[in-house]
């Protein structure tokens, strides 16, 4: 074997850094969408490496639904300060107050879809022309069709049938006034790659990824954490379980998994033998066969 070989994790790392630098070079006002979830943590780490020893050339942006896990919010604030990045937070609650959108009605109200309104308003407010997201193609079948550089029209919409072909490593970020791009440097990463990278880089992550005791309610097979935003239905009750989270979204639609994994090694072991996708814990994806595609078309992450 020739010595000019890279492991697959190194190849993914070099590819993501190339994409991040391409964003800094092709756009005037990029932003990195940062939620404090594992994918955005890895993406932010790669961005640090891409521009070292300079600081991040773009701000971190978070759309706070008000239903986030407090552990993720704490982590977000700590991280921004630790890397010396500018953090911009905008609130779904403010969009609701301003009459830009309405709280969902019905049994399982979620602010997940409302994030889109706040995000698009934030993009307009700061005139961002590219938003870096930590989405991966292995997460969901609509995302499997996503480009690295994903064009959004002036209404923030994705047109999946009319995407620009992406050949070699030539990314076309040209656009008209008012349009923007979503860019996904982790497109080719899998859940396992993300965990292995967190382990390799010894990255700190929010505590809810590790096993802990929590009061949860089982709703349609999804274990939802006790919170003021959840109304128990007849026959439902909270019970204490040993759980952790595989993915961190809104507490109203992100389910926990029962797990004793309390170290990185145990988490990696669990991911390796998992038989259910991480988005299997997301109630927002269970609404219909095309939930993700529909939300993405409207401007979701």
């Amino acid at each position: 074997m020739s010595s000019y070989n890279l492991t697959h994790l190194a190849q993914l790392e070099h590819e993501a850094i190339f994409v991040l630098r391409e964003v800094a070079a092709q756009f005037e006002r990029p932003a990195l969408l940062f939620s404090g979830g594992k994918d955005s943590i890895v993406m932010a780490r790669l961005a640090q490496k891409a521009f070292a020893p300079a600081k991040l050339p773009f701000p971190l942006v978070h759309v706070d639904t008000g239903h986030n896990f407090s552990e993720a919010i704490e982590y977000r604030d700590w991280f921004a300060e630790d890397v010396g990045a500018r953090l911009i937070v905008r609130y779904v609650a403010d969009s609701i107050k301003a009459g830009r959108c309405q709280e969902e009605k019905g049994l399982n109200p979620s602010r997940n879809g409302l994030q889109t309104v706040t995000l698009l308003d934030t993009i307009e407010e700061f005139k961002f022309d590219a938003c870096l997201g930590g989405a991966r193609r292995d997460e969901e079948k609509a995302r499997a069709k996503e480009r690295f550089f994903s064009h959004r029209d002036e209404f923030g919409q994705w047109d999946p049938k009319n995407q620009r072909p992406e050949l070699w490593n030539l990314f076309n970020g040209r656009k008209n006034q008012g349009e923007h791009f979503r860019v996904f440097p982790l497109s080719n990463w899998t859940e396992m790659d993300v965990w292995q990278y967190i382990a390799r880089e010894k990255l700190k992550i929010p505590s809810i990824y590790f096993s802990h005791q929590r009061r949860v309610v089982n709703r349609n097979g999804v274990l939802l954490a006790e919170s003021p935003f959840i109304t128990l239905l007849d026959g439902e009750h909270y019970e204490e379980r040993t759980v952790r989270y595989r993915t961190v979204g809104d507490s109203t639609c992100t389910g926990a998994v029962e797990s004793p994994a309390s170290t990185m090694a145990e988490i990696i072991q669990e991911v390796a033998s998992a038989r259910v996708t991480e988005r299997g814990t997301r109630a927002d994806d269970k609404r219909s066969e095309s939930s993700m595609e529909d939300r993405k078309k409207a401007g979701y992450f």
Binding site: M1, S2, S3, Y4, N5, T7, H8, L9, A10, Q11, L12, E13, H14, E15, F18, R21, E22, A25, L46, K49, A50, F51, A52, P53, A54, K55, R137, D138, K141, R143, A144, K145, P160, K161, Q163, R164, P165, E166, L167, W168, N169, L170, N172, R174, K175, N188, M192, Q196, A199, R200, K202, T263, A265, I268, R275, V276, T277, G280, E289, E293
Partner: protein
């Protein structure tokens, strides 16, 4: 740089096996009829890349649609329009891993109207699986897929002769197809072709060698994917470094740091090496190379690094570092094969934007030399209109010089895309030929064009 820097981890939590894995990108072109979806479904399923909830969801949707057998195509057809029409429209990327390798599949539709998707999926692939129905043998579609694989310079092709169960696992039939394909492929430029008789439906020779074809002595498909040697697929000979951006920290600690950031496109760069920045021709010596894990003793493709130099030279995005004794061609005139992506035909009098490596420039198509019939490989010099999914040879003139290599020599410095300056859509993909293409021996011209 030493592989050890990457492969060794001091973290007790990481699995050394996993960190020693490499990456193979492959493409599969074909239609549902060839058993392509069945084959991908089997590879994903047998490598445990399909999760239970995905499978349950698939069962539920199959049932709702009133279909009887589990429709594995629904795994790859992620868009609503694709599921409605029962066809694959776009390139879908799939991921699976075995203990030896991680794989990225670019799954592309096989019909002629989706040639552009095939080209897209193939552009980053090390290997292509071409499926042949054992009952039908080599058909027009096989020729088309093989020509595209050859044109895009995919170094390894596996010809999977599928549905062997329907021809009684006949060795004679298999050999007949091997001979048929080999004769056709002699006109192409594919360095490594392997033939495997399989039944994707029943799993014969897919993951394990089949007892029903004892006459086949080669490895099963998955074993072949795991072991095909890809170490020499990238160019480690000609040093090429397109400058992506310049990193200049404005802080006291790194006051003088000026890093030329980019991804190595070829060859090897080391501190102390003399480089030349093109197109200016200014020389300098490499002071240091910075990778994701710190300073490096050497950098090679496809590493993303930042290079500092011993002196201040005027160089920025769009320039390219090479070495004084090994330089690309610097020119404004390019001969290339082009694949057209847009429903709006190529306008021979029109101006376009051309993006090559990290450089973007205006360009004009000066001539269309010929169009290729991608089924018969016939060169058409009468009808020179290049429409969607057409492949032809063009002469392009650019507004500024580009630093180019023939595509055959380097897939990064030998490729470009064409962008419509009004819609901003990517309308074409180009593969650069030898600059003196017309003067080269016939055999090499053939090879340049994917063997035409």
């Amino acid at each position: 740089m030493s592989a050890a820097l990457y492969a060794t981890s001091t973290n007790e939590h990481t699995d050394e096996h996993y960190l020693a894995m490499d990456l193979l990108r492959f493409t599969t072109a074909g239609s549902v009829d060839d058993g392509k979806s069945t084959l991908i479904g089997r590879l994903l399923y047998d490598s445990k890349a399909i999760f239970e909830d995905t499978l349950e969801n698939l069962e539920r949707v199959t049932e709702q649609r009133g279909e009887e057998t589990l429709n594995l195509a629904l795994l790859t057809d992620g868009l609503r329009a694709e599921r409605e029409q029962g066809i694959t429209i776009d390139v879908a990327y799939r991921y699976f891993a075995t203990p030896k390798r991680k794989f990225i599949i670019a799954d592309t539709p096989g019909h002629i109207q989706y040639t552009r998707n095939m080209v897209t999926g193939a552009s980053t692939a090390n290997l292509a699986i071409i499926l042949i129905d054992a009952r039908k043998g080599v058909i027009e579609q096989t020729c088309r897929h093989s020509f595209i694989a050859s044109l895009i310079g995919i170094p390894h092709v596996i010809v999977a002769v599928n549905k062997m169960d329907l021809v009684d696992f006949s060795e004679a039939r298999f050999q007949e197809i091997v001979a048929q394909y080999s004769e056709f492929a002699s006109r192409l430029n594919i360095p490594d072709i392997k033939f495997i008789p399989i039944s994707a439906l029943h799993g014969d020779n897919v993951v394990e060698n089949s007892a029903r074809m004892p006459w086949y002595q080669g490895g099963a498909l998955l074993y072949t994917l795991e072991t095909v040697y890809i170490g020499s697929d990238l160019n480690h000979i000609d040093p090429r470094f397109p400058v992506q951006t310049v990193i200049r920290p404005n802080n006291d600690a790194h006051h003088d740091f000026r890093g030329f950031a980019g991804r190595v496109a070829g060859g090897v760069f080391k501190p102390g090496d003399e480089i030349i920045s093109l197109p200016s021709g200014l020389p300098a010596v490499i002071k240091s190379i910075h990778g994701p894990e710190g300073e490096l003793a050497e950098a090679f493709a496809p590493m993303s690094v930042a290079i500092t130099l011993d002196r201040e030279i005027d160089s920025s995005r769009g320039d390219l570092f090479a070495k004084p004794h090994n330089q690309p061609v610097v020119t404004q005139d390019i001969e290339a094969m082009v694949c057209w992506f847009s429903p709006i035909k190529l306008n021979p009098a029109g101006k376009y934007i051309l993006r090559h490596a990290t450089r973007e420039t205006k360009c004009a198509v000066k001539a269309v030399r010929y169009k290729v019939n991608i089924n018969t490989l016939h060169k058409n010099t009468e009808d020179l209109t290049i429409g969607m999914n057409d492949i032809g040879r063009i002469h392009v003139r650019t507004a500024v010089p580009l630093m180019i290599d023939p595509y055959k020599r380097n897939r990064t410095t030998g490729s470009f895309i064409i962008i419509d300056e009004f819609t901003n859509a990517t309308v074409g993909a180009g593969m650069i030929m030898w600059p003196d293409g017309s003067d080269r021996p016939q055999s090499e011209q053939f090879a340049d064009m994917g063997g035409l």
